[in-house]
Symmetry: C2
Subunit: 402 residues, 2 copies
């Protein structure tokens, strides 16, 4: 059974995702689609709009065959670590191909860029370091590094979010010589950062979809997602009573920052020296997450980077913990969140050949759980803690779709 | 101007407090009443039902002339440290007399007990240590220590809460040879732990008053407190929207326990070895504070002791921080929360002779604030954090009553 992997967040699942899923299967001529999906906290450092079990439902109903959780330690990371973790998981499951959406849409431009970057690696690193030390943001520093080099024709300018991610997928696969076919498809229409729903199209960005839902217009987004996803969102709102944004967690985050010493804040993963004082100052005056992050923002730190740091503060993830988690060269386990019947057959075939344990049960806080799993369970507990009747993670069962 | 000190919590102020206040003034023949009052967290390890500013209002309107905050480091402590801190504050202000309520009502029985205890100190300590190591609670161990000694006639059995506190006030004053007159008055009628409002009397316990208010019967308690206190409570509910019990803080406490490592919990003041695992277990399953503390309770640890530990967890007060705070032999400052015109004249007289700084402004989170003051400000911030529009502590001004 030929399989294709997709790396996703589905926050929430929409028509753009459906297009990507179908095209990936077609282009890779695959029978099985394996989705590696972020758990309850996402790459941009945000709590997932609906929890991972709900998003697994959406994925399965829309055609994914296997949903694997991208652990927090890889999910809430800059593109480089996010991509490496996800590609390593697909490789651990011996998935045959990877297909990602990109602004470029041309896989050769990615492999060419990879080779070119490898050739000029030292110079680029040097320029990057210099520019960043001058206070230039990462994307801007990258652009400057490019301009200083020869043969930049046909090299992808890594200034668009999905080209950046795509580049890192390709790099992750080629660096480790993973035997995985690489494909990309051009993302259609919606721009990742669009905040408005488009009037004429059936594809909108997840950002604009979340924004519309939060302003109380759940019905207005029906047009932009499969009916099954829409029903899942309706069901979520009815049963859980709320969707999840940073505002829901601000009282906890604020409390944590105000009751932590500056030394404790400094110990948190990605908390850069000096930021601990800004954090305390902003938390004492800001009463909403939006005003808090507005006070925190500087030219130097992007909102995304700050949000990732805030996720780590919320979950008390320390530098030394994360360093230990990321030290091994391969993922500690493959955690299945859900599968179709096709997915089940596929996993049954793969099972015998795996070198990484396949987890099909939710965790239960047992002391012998892998620390990465303990962190995922904690992320779920905190994510759920804003609901009036949360379901403990250990009571969750893998979702099987008939 | 002769002054008398009272050591209080006023949670909330009621007729029993009014009686104590008036009698103290009469018995000590004082013109000025100085109330040393716990801040936003109390000796039994509970958040104050209304914040300290509201309770200062009640105290001043009922006849107190000066209200001084008993800092968190002394307030949320077993009787011994609570009493020492409060008596040291009164002595630092050179208050002439102290009058406390007790079940006994006879000051000579307290001084006699103090002398007797001093004589038998080593034997008592030895028995106490032995019994406690066998898992016996502190009051029970104390009772056993008594029985093993001669001449126990006229010695107060320290098994009633206000006799225990009273004994420690007397001990605190005599141990340090503070030149302060000691008086006690018999507490009338209401038992400290009564949960029901009495039908025939106008004095009820603060516990029963809080209980009635929480069950939505604010009007039912009007009979048991001065009109001014009742109006203050009405105003609090209107302006702040809620009173404060542990349930209001359980989401923060639970979050803190679940996201702390066992090592971090072990570092907290009064967290006894082994309890960190019980804390994590109870927090993962309990969704209310009541069910949480029910799961936590053992024969060995009283609810009060556990609640004090939980306050320290909520505010992240570490063993080493508290040890440093308690190391000096005298209080670091006298913080005035409010005063009457008489109180103002009194403070003006005392001012010149003080060896301890008199703080008349609220703190502002300045980095040179005394750590004890920083802790009080944090206690206020966390206490207020459950309100929709909290007033930051640094905006508070000392209350002056005309």
């Amino acid at each position: 059974m030929k399989s294709v992997g997709v790396i996703v967040e589905y926050n929430p699942f929409h028509n753009g995702h459906l297009y990507h899923l179908k095209q990936s299967k077609r282009i890779a001529q695959a029978e099985v689609v394996v989705a590696v999906m972020s758990g309850n906290f996402l790459q941009r450092g945000e709590p997932a709009f609906v929890h991972k079990w709900s998003r697994t439902n959406m994925a399965l109903k829309a055609g994914a065959d296997v949903v694997i959780e991208l652990p927090y330690m890889y999910a809430v990371q800059k593109a480089e670590f996010f991509a490496q973790g996800a590609v390593d998981l697909l490789s651990a499951l011996q998935v045959d191909a990877l297909c990602f959406g990109s602004e470029s849409g041309d896989i050769h431009s990615f492999t060419h860029t990879y080779e070119w970057m490898k050739k000029h690696e030292l110079t680029i690193q040097h320029t990057l370091k210099k520019e960043i030390s001058l206070g230039v943001s990462y994307p801007e520093a990258m652009a400057r590094a490019y301009k200083s080099l020869p043969d930049e024709t046909n090299v992808l300018p890594l200034d668009k979010p999905n080209n950046i991610l795509g580049y890192h997928y390709v790099k992750a696969a080629l660096d480790k010589k993973h035997p995985i076919e690489l494909h990309t498809i051009a993302r259609s229409v919606a721009d990742y950062h669009d905040e408005e729903l488009p009037a004429q199209e059936s594809i909108a960005s997840a950002t604009s979809i979340r924004k519309s839902i939060i302003s109380g217009e759940l019905a207005s987004i029906q047009h932009y997602m499969p009916q099954s996803s829409y029903e899942e969102l309706q069901h979520y709102l009815q049963s859980e009573g709320t969707f999840h944004t940073w505002e829901n967690y601000y009282s906890l985050l604020r409390y944590r920052i105000l009751t932590s010493s500056v030394e404790e804040l400094r110990d948190i993963y990605e908390c850069v020296e000096g930021l601990e004082y800004r954090l305390k100052k902003a938390a004492s005056s800001a009463l909403t997450f939006e005003s808090f992050i507005e006070q925190l923002k500087t030219k130097r730190y992007t909102r995304t980077r700050l949000q990732r740091m805030l996720s780590h503060i919320l979950l008390n993830v320390k530098k030394r913990d994360m360093d230990e988690l990321l030290a091994p060269d391969s993922p500690p386990y493959l955690r299945i969140l859900g599968m179709s019947q096709t997915g089940r057959t596929f996993l049954h075939q793969r099972k015998k050949k795996l070198t990484v344990p396949l987890l099909t049960k939710a965790t239960g806080g047992a002391s012998d759980n892998h620390p990465a799993l303990v962190l995922d369970e904690l992320a779920a507990t905190v994510h759920q803690s804003v609901l009036s009747s949360p379901t403990p993670e250990y009571k969750r069962r893998i979702i099987i779709r008939d």
